[in-house]
Symmetry: C2
Subunit: 361 residues, 2 copies
């Protein structure tokens, strides 16, 4: 994989990745020259015991632009530059213009009532492909493998920073989950602390590891393989399945069989099989109702807080937006107010719909 690091006219970083060497004279572009927002800070929520991020510069961010202007497509008209330059490359990563978290976050005004701190960290956009009409699942396997290398690269680079303790790649897909730009892309949020959801999962995994000397997810995968009813992809090095405790309809997890702590720990063969698992799931999703299947896809992996995390086991969790064709899953009183998910379907039944779909990688 070739990689080229550039600086945009507004000071932000742009990184291009490619199978082929990248042209020497390629120049980073930007829709504007104003420096990116730095007015972002965190406030402590003392009842929930968690940080809340306030980034008021985000109010003005791009919202469903007309089709003639796609900020994630390579620039074609130099008078209206996009986020990406023209040229040969496969994947591009750049800092969000309106970041929720940024290295350059200002020290907030003195605290009132609760502790505050600057919104340090990073918010990056990962453009999966130059083709605006493609999608993650439509990419060829080599391209998905390259993307896994990109996520690994960002994990390593961001994880090195002192102000970053957790690197979380994710994709929000579909207007149903609030997506404003339809060009295939994901994001990476890099937090200055281990966020509550992974912190909880890691604590559970750590307690299990202490007790059994093995990984919780590793053992769960073993049980799912033995049971067999909820498997979606069973590869030599990676698996995809609907967990017996799935909270969402059509919820699917993907993981390497070996408890690799992060995407940066996958070897070439594991990456190849992980890419096959990923493509299998995505093709099944889109074939299920013959249209793009909206979801939130989240990476779970080891923190970059400087500690060893033998309990961590890389995995992707997919949270689909629909519970049935045309029926959204709303998170309401019980889910949001209590933290108790209510499902109308059993994973053993729901998984059959995905298993029945034949896909061609």
């Amino acid at each position: 994989m070739y990689k080229k690091v550039l600086t945009k006219p507004d000071g932000r970083q742009l990184i291009l990745y490619s199978r082929q060497p990248i042209a020497e004279d390629i120049q980073a572009t930007s829709p504007g020259t104003d420096p990116p927002g730095t007015k972002t800070h965190l406030r402590w929520h003392p009842l929930r015991g968690e940080w809340v991020a306030y980034a008021s510069h985000r109010q003005n961010r791009t919202f469903l632009p007309p089709p003639e202007y796609n900020p994630l497509a390579p620039t074609t008209d130099p008078a209206h530059p996009t986020e990406l330059p023209p040229g040969e490359y496969d994947v591009a990563v750049f800092e969000n213009r309106f970041p929720t978290l940024t290295e350059h976050a200002e020290e907030p005004a003195p605290a009132a009532i609760v502790p505050t701190r600057p919104g340090k960290g990073a918010c990056e956009v990962v453009v999966f492909t130059q083709d605006p009409s493609s999608s993650l699942g439509a990419l060829p396997l080599w391209h998905l493998e390259e993307l896994l290398e990109v996520w690994a690269d960002r994990y390593r680079e961001l994880g090195k920073r002192d102000d970053i303790e957790y690197v979380m790649p994710f994709e929000n897909r579909g207007v149903e989950v609030g997506v404003t730009l339809h060009h295939p892309h994901g994001q990476i949020y890099a937090y200055p602390f281990i966020p509550p959801v992974p912190a909880r999962e890691l604590a559970q995994q750590s307690a299990y590891f202490e007790e059994h000397g093995r990984g919780l997810l590793e053992d769960l995968i073993g049980e799912e393989l033995k049971d067999g009813r909820r498997m979606i992809y069973t590869g030599e090095r990676a698996v995809a399945w609907m967990p017996v405790f799935a909270r969402y309809s059509y919820e699917v997890w993907i993981a390497p069989r070996r408890p690799a702590p992060s995407v940066a720990d996958l070897d070439g063969a594991e990456r190849a099989d992980f890419a096959r698992a990923l493509k299998t799931v995505l093709l099944k999703y889109d074939k299920l109702w013959g249209k793009p299947f909206p979801y939130i896809m989240v990476f779970h992996q080891a923190p970059t807080d400087g500690n060893l995390h033998p309990e961590a086991h890389l995995h992707i969790e997919f949270y689909p937006a629909y519970r049935m064709p045309g029926r959204l899953k709303y998170l309401a009183g019980s889910e949001i107010g209590a933290g108790v998910f209510t499902a109308d379907t059993l994973p053993e039944e729901k998984v059959k719909e995905l298993q029945a779909i034949e896909v061609d990688l």
Copy 2:
């Protein structure tokens, strides 16, 4: 307040509440005679360390019925009975026909991979008024006070049961949060454990109480009153404000000044002031954009697990669906995947919009 407990033709309980004596000959009705669903169970999510509820009978529940049939309005045509009988009463409470949690939950099939247990507990519907075109905020103050007495009654009655450790009244309002029936109503979920969200809040409050010998929320309210910028209602016994650490745009909390642990601990004067605070907030919400303001409203109060909870302090939290006119707040990658809320606005700015609205109680 008068109260009458009836049994529906399908075996479910119906409770009527009224300022006036309730007719002796009133008969409970039901849309059907099939007994309510009992196929509901819980599975343990070992990574999140929480229970997930599966109620497959809910797939068939009522969905946006045509206007001529409103199951929450009093029955007018005996050939098509609704959930409520005709007659004079103000508020009605009955068990959900398709409960996620129920006293009658069956023992699930033997566990596979993770622990399972029956979905014990209760799911009740609280019909706020007989008038289908009204709303919680449109009810007169005496009616809101009566509703607070109803919630207190249900807290006491459900809380007495051995299979219930936490009683949570809430209202989902608006299609934006998935509401299928538009007649003014809320729900009560009564859980067989303390759910993750209140468990977390109570743990934080408990740690504070241990350290300071005072309530966390009590002290936060004191600080908010001193600061003054985010107050929305400042009554002698109850207050409404936008917390300095609000996660949602227009998020408002309501609490009694005295740290009453539950709605059942409010005295008459506190109930009256709490009702004024509630009506003030609701009228401001609906006047903000001149249309019904969608939200999730959740009660936070002491568990009914048999232990003393001096750390608990009754409060309502409102989670609005919109962050700006016409712009929904989507919970996506950061909120759902990491548990980190990202706000585009500061509470100090957002609260001004609500403060500027004059309301007439």
